[in-house]
């Protein structure tokens, strides 16, 4: 909430810059259709968990096939435990160490088993699936990322990059994104339902930015889990800034935010015949601002 407050405070009332950094760690991709969609980039913690899953998978592969190789080598009956078996085991170990990720990512559309388990996927920065050469480069460079131990270099680089890329991702031009299974929620309700009197104090279109609406939505969605006192406490961090900017007053901060959200997403209540026009505070628009002509006063 404190971060959001900073975001709100930075935004001047007249400019609604769309290019401001989003609240979440996302990467925009522009398609040939000139549509931008957003990938949610995956952070170090989730990738570490996926790494652990993959580590276990690799251990299982090596122990199962290594055991078979040793038995097979021994059954050839040469000097005790067969050299063939050891040779196979070492080759297997090498292949799994360097090529497990390349093979699994290439065959499964950028998802090794661990990534699949944690709903992660490697994609090119242009949004297309990664190819064999990308996968090879990004995984060979694990050799640098895991230095000096426990992927320390990779972690530092990841922490400093806004897309959480490690060195291998930078060379190959790839991103690790998380694919939430998302669905459209039932519409959010505020309780008790807003009365016409309450709504009449809020402009029909408060004019919040998309980020602000998103933040409000996340907050309103948590009403059920917060005690009323906590709701007020959290809402108090943001409500004064918004109220100042919109030139409004409120009694309860949480209720105020709920009403703002309601207005911004639901618009006008059907029973409201004549929505009250908000009186703009002209000083907010900067000096020398002329109010737009009212309908019937100069429009053709």
């Amino acid at each position: 909430m404190a971060g959001m407050q900073a975001q709100l405070a930075r935004r001047s009332p007249t400019t609604r810059d769309e290019e401001a950094d989003p609240l979440d760690t996302t990467a925009d991709v522009e398609t040939p259709e000139h549509v931008r969609f957003r990938y949610r980039t995956a952070g170090p913690a989730r990738r570490a968990a996926a790494y652990l899953v993959d580590l276990m998978v690799r251990a299982v592969i090596i122990s199962v096939f290594g055991f078979l190789a040793l038995i097979g080598g021994a059954s050839l009956g040469e000097e005790g435990i067969g050299g063939v078996g050891i040779g196979l085991l070492l080759t297997l170990y090498f292949l799994v160490e360097w090529f497990y990720y390349v093979v699994s990512e290439t065959l499964m559309g950028g998802r090794s088993l661990g990534k699949r388990a944690l709903r992660l996927r490697v994609v090119k920065q242009s949004g297309v699936p990664l190819s064999f050469s990308d996968s090879l480069l990004r995984n060979l460079l694990r050799g640098a990322d895991l230095l000096p131990n426990f992927y320390l270099v990779g972690m530092i680089v990841m922490g400093r990059d806004r897309y959480f890329r490690r060195l291998g991702d930078m060379v190959a031009g790839t991103l690790v994104v998380s694919e939430e299974s998302s669905r459209v929620r039932e519409p959010l309700m505020i309780h008790p339902p807003p009365t016409a009197k309450e709504l009449s104090r809020i402009p029909a279109r408060p004019g919040l930015s998309a980020d602000e609406v998103e933040a409000l939505e996340l907050f309103v969605g948590r009403f059920g889990q917060l005690s009323p006192a906590r709701q007020e406490e959290l809402a108090d961090l943001v409500a004064p800034t918004l109220a100042d900017r919109l030139g409004l007053r409120y009694r309860s901060a949480a209720r105020f935010l709920g009403l703002l959200y309601f207005r911004e997403t639901r618009g006008v209540l059907p029973e409201e015949s004549q929505p009250p026009r908000p009186t703009p505070n002209l000083a907010d628009y900067g000096p020398g601002f002329q109010p737009p002509p009212q309908p019937g006063q100069g429009w053709p």
Partner: protein, 370 residues
């Protein structure tokens, strides 16, 4: 202004339909009608997404559409499948081309590896203390032991296989490490080249010093043209990464790295190919009971083959440089090398989608160098 509920009610049937159609199967296995339906739904959802975002409809709707659009995009815009033939052509032609185009780096890697190598040989020949200063005594003892008698009887085939496995594991690992650590501004590659050159030279020199020189030289002559040079090439590719970080030609550091990616891929694939050959020779030919003169002859032939491969393969018959006399001199430095034609072009260039704007070179702080 359309509200959230109305928007969702109107459009969500299509969203659900697309979600049902996006199964984890290859697109080409679906019936044609389904494919075109997915494409149509994808476009309509892109439009919905833009609309939802501009209307300020809730984060759950835009989030859901983001996920749907990205999944559909991922399915519809697949990369060109990588064919084995393309890989083969890359190794045969693209790799030598990329090797020659970056000859400066490879020469530097060559010097960084072979200079300590020669120092190691001479030092170990001169005194045992030198060798013991570099490698633990037990390891040197082991090496003396291993080469104390020749390979006149060969080795048991089981031991051959074990050693081949060991070489694959150890040497290819060394080469890959020489490459990957180059991203630390080239220092990693430098370190591993010098270190491995010194160790290899010292072992060789020490075994010669204790009097088993013929044995070890006969053993290593067959595979070393492939093995040592592949390590050099991998290190050279690592140095290129380091250099790309320093000299960016006005790009961000990540973009500068990415520009090199096709060439790096060609060279590291070629090095891996050479190491694979080396591992087989080292596992099965070198320790066999074939008489030494044959082995020496084989080594000579292999050396010439490697040289021919690296210097002559993949040359273009027509010379575009001569065809255009009016060409400026500076062009050749910036133009992508011919090898990039062989390797798969980045899919983004095919689709003319600009990459996500590269961030400032934040990770290139000198704190992480070395």
């Amino acid at each position: 202004m359309i509200g959230r509920d109305e928007f969702v009610a109107k459009r969500s049937a299509r969203w659900d339909e697309l979600e049902r159609l996006l199964v984890d199967k290859g697109l080409h296995r679906l019936p044609p009608a389904t494919i075109s339906r997915i494409a149509a739904l994808y476009r309509s959802i892109c439009a919905d997404l833009m609309r939802a975002r501009s209307l300020g409809i809730g984060a759950d709707v835009t989030g859901h559409l983001d996920v749907l659009a990205s999944r559909a995009h991922n399915v519809l815009y697949a990369p060109k499948p990588y064919r084995l033939r393309a890989l083969w052509e890359l190794v045969l032609f693209g790799f030598p081309r990329a090797f020659r185009a970056n000859w400066r780096f490879n020469l530097l890697a060559f010097v960084l590896f072979y200079l300590p190598f020669v120092v190691g040989i001479l030092g170990a020949l001169h005194s045992t203390e030198f060798a013991e200063g570099i490698l633990p005594r037990s390891m040197l003892r082991g090496m003396e032991e291993a080469y104390s008698h020749g390979f006149d009887d060969g080795r048991a085939t089981g031991a051959d296989a074990a050693m081949a496995g060991f070489y694959v594991h150890n040497n290819v690992g060394i080469a890959f490490r020489c490459f990957s650590t180059g991203i630390l501004f080239g220092f990693g590659s430098m370190f591993f080249l010098v270190y491995n050159g010194l160790v290899t030279g010292t072992v060789l020199g020490h075994v010669m010093h204790v009097g088993h020189g013929v044995n070890i030289l006969t053993f290593v002559c067959g595979h070393s043209p492939f093995e040592l040079n592949a390590i050099v090439i991998a290190g050279g590719a690592g140095l290129q990464m380091g250099y790309a970080l320093v000299r960016t030609d006005g790009l961000t550091r990540t973009a500068s790295l990415r520009r090199r990616a096709p060439e790096l891929f060609a060279q590291i694939s070629g090095a891996a190919f050479m190491l694979l050959i080396a591992a087989f020779i080292e596992g099965f030919w070198s320790p066999s009971s074939i008489p030494p003169p044959v082995k020496w002859g084989f080594a000579g032939v292999m050396t010439i083959l490697v040289l021919l491969y690296l210097l002559l393969f993949g040359r273009q018959r027509t010379r575009p440089v001569k065809a255009k006399p009016g060409r400026k001199r500076g062009d050749s430095a910036d133009a992508p090398p011919p090898s990039s034609r062989m390797s798969s072009p980045p899919p983004s260039s095919r689709m003319s989608t600009p990459p996500v704007s590269a961030p400032p070179p934040s990770f290139a702080s000198p704190r992480q160098g070395g």
